[in-house]
């Protein structure tokens, strides 16, 4: 196997992490916590203070915190002082509306500065912030706004008209909708800009318990409703530590995170970590376009680039010639997350950028990077790397009665588990204590991901332990897709699986059993696809729908998605390991 050897120090700027083993021995979370400022007068720990206010009070006040590249080609800079004032205004705005501690402030936005203002202002006001994916259709939005009991929603006029207006009577908790753009605000909404300008520029964050819930991030399970993972203000300790270690992020860096804010990466590493470190965040409103991406890396002299395997594979597909037109020498580290990065992609990056791509692993529930490849550590292409200093990982097997067994033999496949207690560990699933409790055993968090560890301590992703689909870095719950298909008057049963895809990891495929007397034709096929896309949005909706006479079921009537998948891939139906191996 090819190993990419790394010198401990390969450039003018020394890495934050030089000696991995030494860091693992000496690191404590207590030290990491003490490196943060904390609110004045022992007022506790608040993400907004660490991310902007303390910089706005110090020598970074006039430094660019956020550089927004809008869709029209314009550039707008926000200094730390300006972000601090704008988020003060938003916190005051919330108080004027009577929105208080613990209430849910949601956004359905793309990559726009209002996202930062809303998030930071919500934390200052002790409200809970939740960003939802703007490409979700009305149904995933409704489910998440309802479970999160959203009280305030910040969105655009277009999204409101197309997706939210129709849901208003199903969302009794949603009191205020703030619209960031457009000349006329739709009925039942308020104008974000007008209210923000009318709100005062000063705000003092009151004492904040580090355990206070700051964030809700939704994720998908195999069955049932989406899960709202709760994160505390203390998570910022893990955000800054992991960004320093795994992303080598340093003050003043030009930093570009391509993740959508609707996913945990877009908030943990798109907003919180880089601001807390004092970097310059590049926020690109536009969608992926390969030539423009290279140009952005050059023009913004990006030092640290955090992206996703799907994006890297799209760039690979377009070939490496394009890159030669650009000066990409500012890059110091490239990292990716969302799904395992195949070895070819790691090596392709090295060829094109002169730097390998550093894969890392974490989940919505872990809140921060847990296992990573580091700038000064050798890379084994295809491996997710080694646990972050401060994180204890293991490969385990679930036993009877809530016990686990640690599988210490190298190369044994089991469930990836983490010793509980790191600061960004989720504190619960909203309204679902039983589901939360099921994630833990014997003091370990059980990730639901299957992996193995080699003799050198590197971890390798094997597959999901459940039926959750990983597509373009997003977790998609098959149940949510099946439920929407079943809403269609022609569908009697539905089973949804992920099929391997060379670009996006897995693509969503649905099988349906039509009601008696009906048969699938082009018109119905299109109608079903359109229905699913309208309700779920393009990323969650199936790209393929196939009719079957019947679906494989257990005796209790549960659809056996694994059998569907095995049949589709031509694998033995009972042989799960063969299936998993084929994906790794």
């Amino acid at each position: 196997m090819q190993v990419i050897r790394k010198p401990h120090h390969d450039g003018a700027i020394p890495p934050n992490l030089i000696d991995y083993e030494a860091a693992c021995r000496s690191f404590t979370w207590q030290q990491a916590r003490e490196a943060l400022a904390g609110l004045p007068d022992h007022g506790g720990l608040n993400i907004a203070h660490e991310a902007v206010d303390r910089h706005a009070l110090g020598e970074k006040r006039d430094q660019v915190a956020l550089r927004w590249l809008d869709k029209a080609g314009g550039v707008e800079d926000y200094t730390y002082a300006r972000l601090s004032t704008l988020s003060n205004r938003f916190a005051n705005l919330l108080q004027t509306l009577g929105v208080g501690a613990g209430q849910g402030v949601f956004s359905v936005l793309g990559r726009v500065p209002e996202l930062f203002i809303t998030a930071l202002g919500s934390w200052k006001n002790h409200s809970r912030f939740c960003a939802l994916f703007a490409a979700f259709g009305p149904e995933p939005l409704r489910a998440r706004l309802a479970i999160g009991r959203a009280c305030v929603l910040v969105t655009t006029a277009d999204i409101y008209r197309r997706k939210i207006a129709q849901l208003r009577d199903q969302l009794p908790d949603l009191q205020w909708v703030l619209i960031i753009d457009g000349d006329e605000t739709p009925a039942g909404t308020l104008d974000f800009k007008t209210l923000l300008e009318a709100a005062g520029p000063e705000f003092r964050i009151t004492s904040t318990d580090a355990e206070e819930i700051a964030l809700i991030h939704f994720t998908s399970g195999t069955t049932g409703k989406p899960k709202g993972a709760l994160h505390a203000h203390a998570a910022v300790v893990a955000h800054i530590h992991s960004a320093r270690m795994a992303l080598d992020l340093q003050p003043g860096d030009s930093y570009w995170c391509t993740a959508d804010p609707g996913w945990v990466t877009g908030i943990s590493y798109g907003v919180i970590a880089p601001l807390t470190i004092g970097a310059r965040v590049i926020l690109d409103a536009s969608e992926f376009e390969v030539d423009r991406w290279y140009r952005l890396l050059q023009e913004q002299a990006v030092n640290i680039w955090y992206t996703a395997p799907t994006a890297v594979r799209m760039m690979m597909k377009f070939g490496s010639d394009l890159a030669r037109n650009y000066d990409l020498s500012s890059l110091r580290l490239i990292a990716s997350v969302g799904e395992p990065l195949n070895p070819e992609a790691v090596l392709w990056c090295r060829k094109v950028f002169g730097l390998p791509c550093h894969d890392n692993w974490w989940q919505t529930e872990t809140g921060a990077i847990m296992i990573a490849n580091y700038r000064a550590m050798d890379i084994k292409p295809g491996s997710m790397g080694r646990p972050l200093p401060g994180i204890e990982a293991a490969i385990v097997e679930r036993g009877e009665t809530g016990r686990i067994r640690i599988l210490s033999d190298p190369r044994t496949t089991g469930e990836l588990a983490l010793r509980r207690g790191w600061p960004s560990m989720f504190r619960g699933y909203l309204g679902d204590e039983a589901r939360y409790a099921k994630c833990f055993a014997d003091g370990w968090y059980l990730s639901g991901d299957l992996a193995r560890r080699d003799e050198a301590g590197y971890y390798w992703f094997v597959g999901r332990a459940d039926d959750v689909i990983k597509s373009a870095g997003h977790l998609i719950g098959p149940f949510e897709v099946e439920s929407v298909l079943m809403e269609h008057p022609t569908v009697a049963e539905a089973g949804v699986i992920g099929l391997p895809d060379s670009i996006i990891g897995e693509t969503v495929k649905a099988y349906v059993v039509l009601k008696p007397g009906l048969c699938m034709d082009d018109v119905l096929h299109r109608d079903l696809l359109a229905h699913a896309r309208r309700r779920l949005g393009p990323t969650v909706a199936p790209r393929e729908i196939e009719a079957r006479e019947e679906l494989p079921k257990t005796r209790s009537g549960k659809i056996m998605r694994r059998v569907l998948k095995a049949r589709e891939l031509g694998l033995p139906e009972g042989d799960l390991s063969a299936l998993l191996n084929s994906q790794s």
């Binding site: 969608e287 070939g319 373009a472 896309r533 393009p538």
Partner: protein, 89 residues
């Protein structure tokens, strides 16, 4: 192939990928992605299906030129008239 024929094909291909699209409400000058829900995988499928349907190869660097209906028609007219790609890589 004339403009109308190309427009028909572009719309048919779009509809096969974005079946919920309403062609009558589409503004031909505005990018598809600003009007309909379309992610980057949809966009890739759109271009690849056009390639297959028209028997041409569209270099990746030209993908952005196909982002609106007018853009697609102008680009494809040029490519088909020249019998080669509009802007060889």
């Amino acid at each position: 192939m004339n403009r109308e024929e190309i427009e028909t094909i572009v719309l048919e291909v779009m509809l096969s990928i974005i079946p919920e699209m309403e062609p009558s409400t589409l503004d031909a000058r505005v990018s598809f992605r600003d009007q309909v829900e379309m992610d980057s995988v949809d966009y890739l499928n759109f271009v690849l299906t056009l390639e297959k349907r028209l028997g041409i190869r569209i270099p990746e660097i030209d993908y952005p030129r196909l982002s609106s209906l007018d853009g697609s028609i102008a680009y494809l007219l040029k490519v088909l008239a020249e019998g080669t790609s509009a802007d060889p890589p």
